[in-house]
Point group: C2
Chain length 314, copies 2
C-alpha cells in the first residue's frame, strides 16, 4: 500500500482515533501520524502504547504541516477545536471528522474554515462500548461503513483521496446528504442507544427487584442493552443534544408503536403480537445477508449449534 | 457422571429441548432420552440429527415410563400438553417445564396433575435468537442460571435430584418464588424483548429511511436489537400474554423514564443526560464482574483491542 497522506493529525486519542492510527500504520497509508488529547493522562497512555508516531501537547502542534486532520472529539467540541487549529492549518490540508451527527458538525466547523482548507465531514459506523486510548484496534473498520457527507463545493480530487485513505483502513465508503445521514443514524443508532440507556435505568431504579438480581439474571435480553448503555456518556450526550429533531421524531414513532403493542398485551391480542414479531424477525435475516453481523447464535458468545443453524422451527 | 434419571422425556424438540438432550447425553445424566414434537417436520429433523435416543409421534408415548418429563413447549401450550400426558405419566415421575413465565404455567399445569406425580416448575435463563431442532447445542446452559420455583408441597428429595440433573447440564440452580420470578424476568428479559421488537418495527415502517439503508447501516446499535427481535414469535407472544401484569408494570416505568430523557433532549439538559448515561455504564461492569457476559468489546465480534481494555477515557 502506498502512502496516501504524508502527515496525518488526530485530534483526540480515543477508540476511533487509536483505531485509525493502528489501521493506517498497518496499511502504510500515512508517513507520519501525530496525535493529541486535551487529557494529559490520555496523552501519556497513548505514548506508552505507541498509539501514534508522535504525541503532542496541543491541537495546534498536531495539525502543523499535516495533510489530513481528523477531528476525533465529541460532536459538541468540534467547533471549539476547529477555532483552535484554524491559524495553524497547512494550506491545502483536508479536515475531516468522525462525529455521529453531521449537520451540527458542519454548522460548528464551517465558520472557522480557512479558504484554502478542504472540509469533508465523515462518520465511521464502527465502535464498541469501550472508549479511551486503550480501546482502539486496527481491525475496527474492517467491512464497516464510513459515511462521508461532502459539501456542494467539495474538491472532487480531495474527496477521492480521502476515500482511498478510508478504504485503506478497511472500511467501505459511501456518500450521503448530511440531513439524511442524521435521520438514518437516529433510527439505526441514536434512538436505540437512548432506549437501551432507559431500560438499564429502569432496572437500576427498581427497588423490588434488587440490582444484584437484575445483574445475575441478565442473560435473557437485558445484558445486550447494558452493553449499548455502557457507551461513552459525553459522546452520547452530545449526539442527543445535536441531533435533537431527528431523535425526537423517531422517539415519537417509537412511543406510538410501543403503545400499540402495550395495548395488544393488555387486550390479549395474541395475533397482533405474533404478526408483529414475525415481521421483525425477517429484518434480522436482512442484516446477516448484508454482511453486517454474524449469523452465529447469540453473536457467537460461546454458542456452538449442531447441524445447520435454522432461524425457524422446522 | 452417574445416571440421575433413567428415562427422560422431552415434550417439544426446539432449542431448549435439543440442548437439554445433548448436554444430558454428554454428562451421562440419563439412560435414555425420548422426545416428541407436534410437528412431523421437527420430528423428522430430530431423527436425522439423532437429537434424542428415540423420537416418538406423540407426548403420551414419550412420557410412558419416564422418570423425568420436561415440558419444552411455549407457555400457552403447557396446560394442553399436561392434560394430554396426564393419564400416561409413571407414578412417582417428576414433571418440570422450561417456560419463561412461572405463575401462568403453575395455573395451567396444576389442575391436571395426578397425586402421585411431582411438579417442579423451572426456567433456564439461556437461549439464542435461533429456534427449532437444528439450533440446540450441549454448551447452551454452561454457567447460565436455571431457576426453579418449587411449590409449597414439593418433595425435597425430588427437588434435590432435579437440581443435580440441571447442574449436570452445566447450569447453576437457584430457587425463587413464582411471582418474584415473573417480575425479575419482566425486567431482565420480557420488557427488553418488547422494546427491541418495537424499535425494529419502527425502522421497518419508516418510509423515508428505506429498509435497505437501515439494514446496511445497522452496525451502530440497531443490529443488537434485531438479534433480540429475531426470537421465536410464538414463544414471545405467549410470554407477553401470560406475564401481562409484570410486563405492563415495567413498561409503565420505562415510558415514564423515557419521557424524562426525551424532555431532557428537548430542553437541551446535557447534564441530566450525562449523569444518566454514567450511571447506566456502571451496571454493565456489574454484569461482567458477575460472569454473565464477556468483557470483550462488541461481544468479541471480531474486536481485538490493544493493551488493557478500558471502559473509560484515561
Amino acid at each position: 500500500m502506498s502512502v496516501i497522506y504524508n502527515k496525518v493529525a488526530l485530534i483526540g486519542l480515543g477508540l476511533i482515533a487509536g483505531s485509525i492510527s493502528l489501521a493506517a500504520r498497518q496499511a502504510g497509508a500515512a508517513s507520519r501520524i501525530s496525535g493529541t488529547s486535551r487529557s494529559a493522562k490520555t496523552r501519556s497512555a497513548a505514548r506508552d502504547l505507541k498509539l501514534v508516531d508522535e504525541v503532542v501537547d496541543n491541537a495546534a502542534a498536531a495539525v502543523r504541516n499535516a495533510d489530513l486532520v481528523v477531528l476525533c472529539v465529541p460532536v459538541g467540541a468540534m467547533g471549539k477545536v476547529m477555532a483552535e487549529i484554524k491559524p495553524h492549518l497547512k494550506p491545502g490540508a483536508v479536515v475531516t471528522d468522525v462525529g455521529s451527527v453531521k449537520q451540527e458538525v458542519i454548522e460548528q466547523v464551517s465558520p472557522h474554515l480557512p479558504d484554502n482548507v478542504h472540509f469533508i465531514p465523515g462518520h465511521p459506523l464502527a465502535g464498541t462500548e469501550h472508549s479511551g486510548p486503550y480501546s482502539g484496534f486496527a481491525e475496527l473498520f474492517e467491512n464497516r461503513w464510513w459515511l462521508l457527507t461532502p459539501l456542494p463545493d467539495t474538491d472532487p480530487d480531495e474527496l477521492s483521496r480521502l476515500r482511498r485513505f478510508i478504504r485503506a483502513l478497511g472500511a467501505n465508503v459511501e456518500d450521503m446528504e448530511p440531513a439524511h445521514h442524521d435521520l438514518v443514524l437516529a433510527v439505526t443508532s441514536h434512538t436505540p442507544h437512548l432506549i437501551a440507556y432507559t431500560m438499564v435505568g429502569v432496572a437500576d431504579h427498581l427497588k423490588r427487584v434488587t440490582e444484584s438480581e437484575v445483574i445475575k439474571y441478565s442473560a435473557a435480553g437485558f445484558r445486550d442493552f447494558t452493553r449499548i448503555a455502557a457507551s461513552d456518556p459525553t459522546m452520547w450526550r452530545d449526539v442527543f443534544l445535536t441531533n435533537k429533531d431527528a431523535v425526537l421524531d423517531i422517539l415519537g414513532r417509537f412511543t406510538e408503536e410501543l403503545f400499540m403493542l402495550q395495548r395488544a398485551i393488555r387486550m390479549g391480542d395474541g395475533e397482533q403480537l405474533h404478526d408483529y414479531f414475525t415481521r421483525t424477525r425477517a429484518i434480522r435475516r436482512g442484516i446477516i445477508e448484508a454482511g453486517q453481523d454474524t449469523a452465529a447464535p447469540d453473536f457467537g458468545r460461546g454458542a456452538k449449534p449442531t447441524g445447520k443453524p435454522a432461524n425457524d422451527g422446522v
